[in-house]
Subunit: 240 residues, 2 copies
Amino acid sequence: MPSRVPERPPTASAVIRQELRARIVSLAMRPGEPINEKALARRYGVSRTPVHEAVLKLAEEGLVAIFPQSGTFVGLIPYADLPETIIIRRSLEETSARLAAERGDAAGLAAIDRAMAVLAVADKDDHEAFHQADEAFHAGVARAAGHPGIWRLVQQVKVQVDRFRRLTLPQAGRLDRVVAEHGAVRDAIAARDPEAAARRMGAHLDGLLADLGGIAGLNPDYFDGPGRRDEGEQGRPFPP
Amino acid sequence: MPSRVPERPPTASAVIRQELRARIVSLAMRPGEPINEKALARRYGVSRTPVHEAVLKLAEEGLVAIFPQSGTFVGLIPYADLPETIIIRRSLEETSARLAAERGDAAGLAAIDRAMAVLAVADKDDHEAFHQADEAFHAGVARAAGHPGIWRLVQQVKVQVDRFRRLTLPQAGRLDRVVAEHGAVRDAIAARDPEAAARRMGAHLDGLLADLGGIAGLNPDYFDGPGRRDEGEQGRPFPP
DNA sequence: TTCGCAAATCTGATATATCAAACTAAGCTG
DNA sequence: CAGCTTAGTTTGATATATCAGATTTGCGAA
């Protein structure tokens, strides 16, 4: 191993990967849309190698579907898997909230309060700002629990749900409800009541499950219908 | 997207990745050991491209540390991160056990019983067989819960703990304790008592946390000392 | 012997080229 | 005009080559 790790600019592959991921998660690139590695290489002014590396890693995350000798496409949203990922998220974040309340770290609570303040004054129509502030709250809870890694894992797990939610219209009053539920979690943590904190976090995230229903009216081409993706098997065939 | 997804042999890159992962997790390759892509390419009779792809993905999993223009090495074990991963695992598997008990799926319970039977008759000295049967039990619980994805995630999260445990001698009587604790979880699921199932699974996995203490006497070169790996930053420098 | 410096070597990142498989579409057959 | 065949095109996987930076090595000076 090297004796020191010099700073170095991010590799071309890493830059491309971040940008592609952002465009896929934000739905700027639509599920099922073909990805042309050669065109991307041209666009970024690099060879196909770093583009291919970036695409491979996105495939690992389930954001891209590679069909060898056939084509690469923006991954469909695995609708059937979404409830499971929300259950996983709830499980992890209940634990975060419980541990944060047990720990009662003052600095952590302050960070949570800061995130809540940002959310309170967020422009109700600026969905992006709302989303950012929402995430900051959850990250803050994990940090207050002393386990930021939990939030990192949650972020990884919830990516397909995020894509789904971009497709659904934000319901009226959701922002106010989220603010209220965050406040309930915060108060339980501040009161050092682990079980209440966990319960309230769980209730908050159960709201996500309810949002999953409204698939009617959405473009069915965006979804991976039949179900769960086992050992790398990718989705259903494309209808002609 | 293609109209049908033809079967095809696994790519060279995938084969190499699986083999390397197995050798790293089993400690056949020691933490900190250099990885020579060119030599691997020769060994497998392929070019460096698929080897590089495999190594990149292992780096993603934290099993390999890449220092550009310098070298690639088998990843050190992030000792400071292990408690967090066990907390994550406990959180997820408590949820599995709770849901399995709520669901009360007869076929799922039968699968759990099969895994337990294998464990009961396992040769007490065949650590590999014991490990396999242990994993089958936990996989069975997740399946009985109707959420096999939870177990997939647990497997991903616990990989560094698995490496650590290979370094420690199995304690006398551990097998019997594991069998007993599995039985307790099984009975709570069979009795459809979700809270008891979750509590017992949590207690079972708390045993892992206790195992973490015995680092004394182990080779410190194998561990990533200071702490947590933030945004891809890799480990401590190597002492000369 | 020890130290310092520079050339040689090694590495990962990237570029370019090749290959086989799969899709596409034009052309042939009926 | 419809169905089938086939040649051309596109793609991902892999091979080979190049480059810049880091380590290592070897030799000479103190």
